[in-house]
């Protein structure tokens, strides 16, 4: 035990010396290093804290200049001599029924297009990155891949521009904000597949019991509500900063305080405003003590959604797919949905997460890939995918088709104010990976929040070389 403690201490010291000699040693600035106390925390929601002096900029979606092009009308792409009628599809398992859906779709596709064949391979999200990396390293590119990123492969020239692979009817049907977020250096490489949005979920019964009339709209209100709920014996706010999905939770807090991943097209993960946001999360956990235990190590689904569904938590950042989970768990929780509480007078927004379909350049695969993609985006096939997997549509036709569905309607309205991860930037996966793997450590009492954000910043700005 002793040995290990010493080792940890030592490594902690080396973290400081190697990474942030300045912030550990100096500790002078109000934002970093120093222990947070009640007064310091209250100051954050008072809006008078650090970072307020810098001009409050409306954070922009991806920060990149986008060149939205009309989907090319020319369908006759230069074809390789050997045309392949068999293609491979690799995708992630959103639910236990994802594989069944794709296998069924492939069967229907093959029946409608005699001679063509689609080999389906569905991989769970814990293993998909390793599996796809293995395919890339061995140059066994899937013809169609479903993932949450695309720009890294596009930057390496492995993908084919995808707008020319789908018919104009399909290409022009995507909701513009989703489509814009699928470009790399002027070409569209990703087809928006699914979307989800976030909102504040609050337990109406608990709110009534402790006498709170309306959901909090600001951070200050959120703190006071959470304190009342906590005093009644519930978890005030369920905060998941464990590795499973903390990039979503973090984005919500970062944006609601007026910070962003990038500013002026440069990475700004460790900006003063963002340090302040992370300090606030640390305040929730360690000073106000309104979260569940160990928020830095709590995963979203099991650690926050489940307790909320069981009626033990006052507030969480819910997601558009959460209601279907609650239903599946036979939850009877009586909850309401409200906009994300903001600080520093930030405008209302929501986090929009979208996943993509991309197509790798394999000689002779364009015709079969094109046929399959067009088949998939036929409204009935696409809607069946969304309803079976519980995600929001990225096309206008499907949005119209689903607008009367009570599971979708409240979230469809949020899509216009959705902000996205900077996933068009090839560096984003590294920033996200480091954030997932390290952000939670910032919530250990006394941790140096700035140094954690510094790590993420340097992951985003440094490549693997040199």
């Amino acid at each position: 035990m002793k040995v290990r403690r010493r080792a940890q201490l030592f490594s902690l010291m080396s973290v400081c010396t190697v990474l942030t000699a300045t912030s550990c040693a100096a500790g002078g600035s109000s934002a970093s290093g120093t222990t947070l106390d009640q007064a310091g925390c209250d100051k954050i929601t008072g809006g008078a804290a650090a970072g307020a002096s810098t001009s409050l900029k409306q954070p922009s979606g991806g920060g990149q200049s986008l060149h939205v092009q009309q989907a090319s009308l020319e369908t006759g792409l230069p074809k390789a001599t050997a045309r392949s009628k068999t293609i491979s599809f690799v995708g992630g398992a959103y639910t236990g029924t994802t594989e069944a859906y794709w296998k069924d779709l492939a069967g229907k596709f093959e029946a409608a297009n005699p001679g063509y064949k689609v080999n389906i391979r569905i991989i769970d999200w814990n293993n998909i990155d390793q599996q796809v990396s293995t395919m890339i390293q061995t140059k066994q590119y899937p013809d169609v891949l479903n993932q949450n990123k695309f720009s890294g492969w596009a930057a390496n020239g492995l993908l084919q521009p995808i707008d020319s692979l789908v018919s104009p009817t399909v290409g022009n049907d995507f909701i513009p904000s989703f489509k814009e977020n699928s470009y790399y250096q002027g070409s569209q490489y990703g087809l928006p597949l699914i979307a989800s949005t976030r909102a504040l979920f609050y337990n109406k019964d608990i709110f009534a019991k402790v006498g709170i009339s309306k959901p909090p709209a600001t951070w200050a209100e959120l703190v006071s509500s959470a304190q009342k709920i906590k005093a009644a014996g519930y978890t005030g706010y369920g905060l998941p900063l464990g590795g499973e999905e903390n990039q979503g939770e973090w984005s919500l807090w970062m944006w609601s305080n007026g910070g962003d991943w990038k500013s002026d097209d440069k990475w700004s993960v460790n900006s003063e405003r963002n340090v302040q946001s992370l300090n606030f999360l640390s305040c929730l956990a360690n000073v106000y003590k309104v979260t569940q235990p160990n928020p830095g190590q709590t995963n979203r689904t099991d650690g926050v959604f489940r307790p909320f569904a069981n009626g033990q938590t006052g507030m969480i950042m819910g997601a558009s797919f959460a209601p279907s989970l609650f239903k599946q768990w036979n939850s009877t929780v009586n909850y309401g949905i409200a906009p994300i509480p903001v600080n520093n007078g930030t405008k209302p927004f929501t986090l929009g997460v979208q996943d993509y379909l991309v197509s790798f350049k394999n000689p002779g695969n364009t015709e079969a890939v094109s046929k399959f993609l067009n088949f998939f985006y036929q409204t009935d096939n696409y809607v069946r995918f969304l309803t079976s997997q519980g995600f929001l549509p990225t096309t206008q036709t499907a949005s119209t088709a689903l607008k009367d569905d009570p599971n979708f309607a409240p979230y469809l309205d949020l899509l216009p104010i959705a902000k996205f991860y900077p996933s068009t930037d090839p560096s984003f996966p590294k920033a996200q990976g480091t954030l997932e793997a390290q952000l939670g450590t910032a919530l250990t009492p006394g941790a140096d929040t700035k140094s954690v954000l510094d790590q993420i910043q340097s992951a985003a700005t440094q490549g693997n070389g040199g």
Partner: protein
């Protein structure tokens, strides 16, 4: 004995071929990757020299992770071996219900490590974990503890789970060794008036030494490379509080740094360390045979000192010892029929407990799975979970594939490894030590580090999604264990038995088949069970090279993993499927377990 190098080739070349093809070449690929500059998507951008190694050694988490690894290996191996020695001793005694205890101990071993780790994670959950409920009911703790979430406990929790899952396997390796000890030796000891402690110290332990040495090496490698325990339980925890070098290599390659080159560098570093540790250990334990090495001398001096101390401690308190000895001799025969079955019951209950939790949870509905506090028994028994799982998963297809692959791989590995083990045990030839060390090194390489190279090779030979390819790969990964276990077994058999057959003119093949195999049956059964279980539960390689749901080519562990969704995990189905998956292994074990018992007398009487 003989020195025919060319003849040795016919016995060992199949093993060498298999190792070179399936393990050495991918390992070279791993080294090559560690010298390449690879970007975060996996695309290579040319030679990087030692840059990946420099990056690795500059990582701030390195010290913490390495110290975790040392503690992990020492604690898990040390405690597992000590406990397993006791358990093997218990299971080697005759008592009412022994069979049941043996069956109970096979369950944790038969269940895939991924599933065992999943149920442990579920049990160790902070708010609604059953471990917290149990400890609070007992009054040990007053508030729930986040066993795997709280950085103060996370590492110790995985160490605890690591120990529990390592004990059954270790026990069986040691049990096979215990059963190979000639009963006549014990009788001779009894005639000389040796008490149980002396019998254990001067007869059992020295004779068990070969098995113990092998068990220690194999368990060390097994523990060092046991990825799923840490990965499943604390893999998604931010920070490196409970990472070992293996899980960290995965994080570097695929999660945080997204640098497969640096990940490969850490894997290379890992392998080098393990090889050095294992060779040092081998050298040390063979020390009294080769006293020229300082380590051998140190080891011999240490053991001499220890045995002297143990030897001296006995007469130090002659009175009390004599009294307790007498009392024990009077009491023991009366206590024995009660104490042994009782001890067996406790052991069985302890090792079955996680699977009992799994079983009970498989009847719970989604809400109750996460009820606070956790419930012991389901409030509503959802029998439909057990019926629905057959619709959710193509279980029959998955079971069929896994059975074919496990049976074929086990047969292949026995066919290749047993002759090699027999030959190396009975003959001294040029390259014998090199061969045995080569085999051992294959065990040192974790499949997850080699998967890219293996995949590339399987593509090259057009074996993707082919049964033969996955069978060959699985056989290669289990070659080392079978070779070493069987080598130890063959070496332990008295030469005289074979010499008689040699006089009758039997060739080496017939001697091996007719004389030796029946004698080493316990070891053979252990090797068979081990291989079958390993292949049955193998995940990473099947996921990569044998994964074609369109054509019904998926193995059981890969198929079950489909139940782990992005935002939801269907624990009830996961648990049902995992329990169903253990049934064939337990049935296999029960049908051949009597051979394990039979071996007890086989060595002695014949």
């Amino acid at each position: 004995m003989r020195h025919h190098t060319w003849r040795s080739l016919t016995w060992i070349s199949p093993s060498v071929l298999l190792i070179v093809a399936v393990i050495t070449l991918p390992a070279l690929r791993m080294v090559w990757t560690s010298l390449q500059l690879t970007d975060e998507t996996g695309v290579s951008h040319g030679f990087a020299g030692l840059a990946n190694y420099r990056r690795l050694f500059a990582e701030p988490a390195l010290v913490n992770v390495v110290s975790n690894t040392v503690v992990w290996v020492l604690l898990v191996v040390g405690v597992s071996i000590v406990v397993a020695l006791g358990l093997a001793q218990l299971l080697n005694k005759q008592f009412f219900g022994r069979r049941l205890v043996r069956w109970a101990l096979i369950v944790p071993w038969a269940t895939s490590l991924v599933m065992t780790s999943t149920v442990w994670r579920y049990m160790l959950e902070g708010g609604n974990g059953i471990v917290n409920r149990f400890l609070m009911d007992l009054g040990v703790i007053s508030a729930p503890i986040g066993w795997y979430q709280d950085p103060r406990y996370a590492f110790w929790s995985v160490v605890g789970v690591g120990i529990v899952v390592t004990i059954p396997f270790t026990t069986y390796v040691l049990l096979a060794g215990l059963q190979a000890i000639d009963a006549q030796v014990y009788e001779a000891g009894k005639l000389d008036g040796a008490g149980p402690w002396k019998t254990y110290r001067y007869i059992t332990l020295p004779l068990l030494r070969p098995a113990l040495v092998i068990a220690t090496i194999l368990v060390t490698i097994y523990v060092f490379n046991s990825f799923p325990v840490i990965w499943v339980i604390t893999g998604s925890n931010p920070g490196n509080f409970s990472d070992t070098t293996l899980t960290w290599a995965y994080k570097i390659a695929f999660q945080q740094q997204l640098n497969t080159g640096e990940g490969a560098a850490l894997s290379v570093f890992n392998v080098l360390i393990l090889i050095v540790v294992v060779l040092l250990y081998l050298r040390a334990v063979n020390g009294d045979r080769e006293r020229q090495s300082w380590l051998g001398r140190a080891w011999a001096a240490l053991t001499d000192r220890l045995s002297e101390r143990w030897g001296r401690r006995r007469p130090a308190g002659p009175v009390s010892v004599a009294v307790s000895d007498r009392a024990r001799r009077r009491m023991w025969p009366r206590l024995r029929p009660v104490v042994l079955p009782l001890a067996g019951l406790v052991v069985a209950a302890f090792f079955l407990a996680p699977y009992a939790v799994m079983f009970l949870a498989s009847f719970k509905d989604g809400a109750e799975l996460y009820a606070v506090p956790a419930t012991y028994l389901p409030r509503h028994w959802e029998w439909s979970n057990w019926a629905n799982v057959w619709d959710v998963l193509p279980l029959a297809m998955l079971l069929r594939n896994s059975l074919i692959i496990a049976a074929a791989s086990t047969a292949l590995v026995l066919l290749i490894a047993v002759p090699a083990a027999y030959y190396t045990a009975r003959n001294r030839f040029a390259g014998r030590t090199a061969f045995l060390n080569l085999v051992l090194v294959t065990q040192v390489l974790a499949p997850v580090a080699l998967v890219v190279g293996i995949y590339q090779e399987v593509i090259y030979v057009d074996g993707v999604n082919q049964y033969w390819a996955i069978v060959v790969v699985n056989a290669a990964f289990n070659l080392a264990f079978v070779t070493w276990i069987m080598n130890g077994q063959f070496a332990g058999v008295d030469l005289a038995i074979e010499e008689a057959a040699m006089m009758e003119g039997l060739g080496p093949v017939r001697r091996m088949l007719r004389i030796m195999l029946p004698v080493v049956r316990p070891g053979l059964v252990t090797a068979l069970v081990f291989t079958f279980i390993q292949v049955w539960n193998e995940f990473v390689i099947s996921l990569t090279v044998f994964n074609d749901p369109t054509n019904d080519r998926v193995t059981l562990p890969v198929g079950i993993q489909q139940l782990v969704g992005l935002n939801e995990t269907n624990y009830q189905y996961l648990f049902v499927a995992s329990l169903i998956a253990t049934v064939p292994v337990v049935v296999l074990f029960i049908t051949i377990e009597r051979h394990l018992v039979g071996g007890l007398t086989a060595g002695g009487v014949k």
